[in-house]
Amino acid sequence: MDTEALLAEIRAAVLDGEPSLVKSLTEKALEAGLPALTIVSEGLTEGIRRVGEEFQKGAYFLPDLVRGAQSMEIGLEVLQPLLAGAGEERPTHARIVLGTVHGDLHSIGKNIVAAMLKASGFAVDDLGVNVPVEVFVDKVRDTEAAFLGLSALLTTTVHQQEAVIKALEAAGLRSKVKVLLGGAPIDQDWADRVGADGFAPDAARAVEVARELAGIR
């Protein structure tokens, strides 16, 4: 079996945003004897990198990004047990934990940031919405994530961002993680006031800020 052709097909399926196709091609690639890490780097990661490129060029848009990220994720799900078993990890820029704060159910902004970060080469743990302070802290501790992104859209829940930062301090974790804030009522002034490491007014900026803080490019 032509393994180069298989990897090319995986890249194309990620680019086209076809999760089921990526899943079956990933399984096929494993059967063909390709190492998991190779499939990840030359198939999935390379595919999502091209998605990001098309987005930068203005040829791809957010729906393409989200589908590309989904397709990559489904391939990773297949490969993760093998990687873990071999004690290997796919290379990523950094791990980021994301979530919408307690009391707030809004998710769309956070979801877009998640998709863009994945497309940009970050490992993303999305905790969802209405996330209690302790859950953020525990996840940061367990994953040793380098970044924590907090989304708040309701002006009545914005102060939860401050509460999370304080809880990280109390847990002795504050210096180990960079905290980024997002949401319509958020601005640099608020981020400075609560001691966050960064703030982003939109998803694209969020990726830029994360990359800057991670020392990439």
Partner: protein, 476 residues
């Protein structure tokens, strides 16, 4: 009465049928057990938190929702009866930022801004109802009672507040009752409308559900205000988003009618589109204007009052983009027959509001109001006699009685803000922009306009309500 329409009657039937399918099959996530119990008793299907609605229940609920009601002023001259053909403007709600009209800088909204902007709405001729920004200098738990009190103090026009919890409704209504001498008086002439937002897609959070039920039980005008974003939290097809928002509103309407049959409901969606490059939710796109017209049609289809996005822009500055987006959104919205033309004063996709934008929107609304008046055609207006007199006489038209009569009846619109001077004069004055004219008007109004103060007794009662809210809600 002829309204501008973008949907045919087949289209409306199609949207309604699709909505019933969504409500019967996908249903609404309602995160409050009491609400689910009541809906189930009324005939809904309930599986976990998911509630499905049968068509006959929806039909009965629409039937029991009043076709007309009035949003009242402190006194009747500012009343806004929401009846077919009448339209009123509403200033924008919830902006976290304002553009300071003295410094031109963007900063967080404060209580002082809620006061000033409300007072501006009170003063201007084409701003009929007020809704508040979200001030930063108040504890979040009592931000709504505080801004409601601030609005009551700064206008005698009708008010509206969008709320996030049952507590916010309770305390807002207590303040309204204090102003009007009791709940009964307040409900019989409601100066405060409550709006509750389902979360798109198809979700009513526990807090929002309880807010809806408290408002419905009280019998005050209640707006159901979903804000789906086309392509992100609603379908990418415009018709699909119209279906989804319709389902979200009707679900809220059904719950309100179950709690209190006959509760006055306002069909009040705020759909926007997603910019697929940046992820921003956009106001000022052609689709937003289209959806406003369609929304007005849907409200009429159900025979309940409708409220639509009518003002707004993505622009950050008061430039041409701001101008054309506002004008192109307002005109079709006004022509659509919507009873409430909302989001007056909103900029940067509603992230900020400003005194200057409110004044500008008052001007645009003045233009549009004249346009909506149309053309008077009767014997006098046809002017046969006037034409003969002008042509056969010597003075032309300027000196005619006919001219003075029609001029004094405002046949031709005169601007407040738009600059009509000749080029040289304008140049000599430093080439003022409309923003500068708006700024001058803001300064003038804020320096001189006085709102009839509330009595000391009422003020005392309001302070007590806020103290009670502070103690109660901060403790939670």
């Amino acid at each position: 009465m002829k309204f501008f329409e973008v949907l045919s009657s087949e289209d409306l039937d199609g949207i309604h049928a699709a909505t019933l399918e969504v409500l019967a099959r996908t249903g609404m996530l309602i995160q409050d057990a009491d609400a689910r119990e009541r809906l189930e008793a009324a005939g809904c299907g309930v599986r976990g938190e998911r509630v499905t609605f049968p068509a006959d229940l929806v039909a009965r609920a629409v039937e029991s929702s009043p076709a007309e009601f009035t949003l009242c002023g402190r006194t009747p001259e500012h009343d806004c009866p929401l009846v077919p053909g009448r339209f009123y403007t509403l200033s924008t709600t919830g902006s976290p930022f304002v553009i300071d009209h003295e410094t031109g800088e963007r900063r967080h909204a404060l209580v002082k801004d809620v006061a000033d902007l409300t007072r501006l709405v009170d003063a201007l001729p084409n701003t009929h109802m007020a809704s508040p920004a979200t001030p930063k200098d108040v504890e979040p738990e009592i931000v709504t009672p505080v801004r409601v009190a601030t609005m009551f103090r700064n206008t005698t026009k009708p008010l509206r507040v969008a709320v996030e919890s049952g507590d916010e409704v309770r305390y807002s209504l207590k303040i309204a009752a204090a102003v009007h001498g009791g709940m009964e008086a307040m409900v019989s002439r409601p100066q405060l409308q409550i709006s509750v937002s389902p979360l798109s897609p198809l979700t009513l959070s526990g807090d929002s559900t309880r807010a809806l039920m408290v408002a419905a039980a009280a019998g005050v005008p209640l707006g159901v205000i979903p804000a789906p974003i086309v392509g992100a939290t609603g379908p990418m097809s415009i018709a699909g988003t119209l279906v989804q928002q319709n389902a979200e509103i009707l679900a809220g309407l059904v719950l309100a009618q179950v709690v209190n049959p006959g509760a006055p409901i306002l069909y009040e969606p705020r759909p926007t589109v997603m910019d697929m490059r940046t992820g921003q939710s956009i106001w000022g796109n052609p689709e937003v204007a289209l959806m406003s017209v369609a929304t007005a049609q849907m409200a009429r289809y159900y025979k309940i009052p409708g409220s639509v996005t009518a003002f707004g822009s993505s622009a950050r500055a008061m430039d041409d983009q701001n101008g054309f987006e506002r004008a192109l959104t307002l005109l079709p919205a006004a022509q659509s027959g919507a009873n409430v033309l909302a989001s007056l004063g909103a900029g940067d996709n509603v992230i900020h509001t400003s005194a200057e934008l409110i004044v500008l929107d008052d001007e645009i609304m003045s233009w549009v109001t004249r346009f909506m008046r149309g053309i008077q055609v009767d014997e006098d207006a046809l002017g046969v006699a006037a034409i003969h007199e002008a042509v056969m006489g010597e003075g032309g038209f300027l000196a005619l009685d006919h001219t003075r009569k029609f001029m004094r009846a405002s046949e031709v619109w005169t601007p407040r803000l738009s600059d009509r001077r000749n080029y040289s004069d304008w140049d000599r004055e430093g080439r003022p922009t409309i923003q500068q004219h708006a700024r001058a008007r803001v300064t003038e109004i804020l320096a001189t306009h006085v709102v009839e103060p509330l009595s000391d007794d009422i003020e005392r009662e309001i302070d007590e309500v806020i103290a009670e809210a502070r103690a109660d809600l901060n403790a939670k």
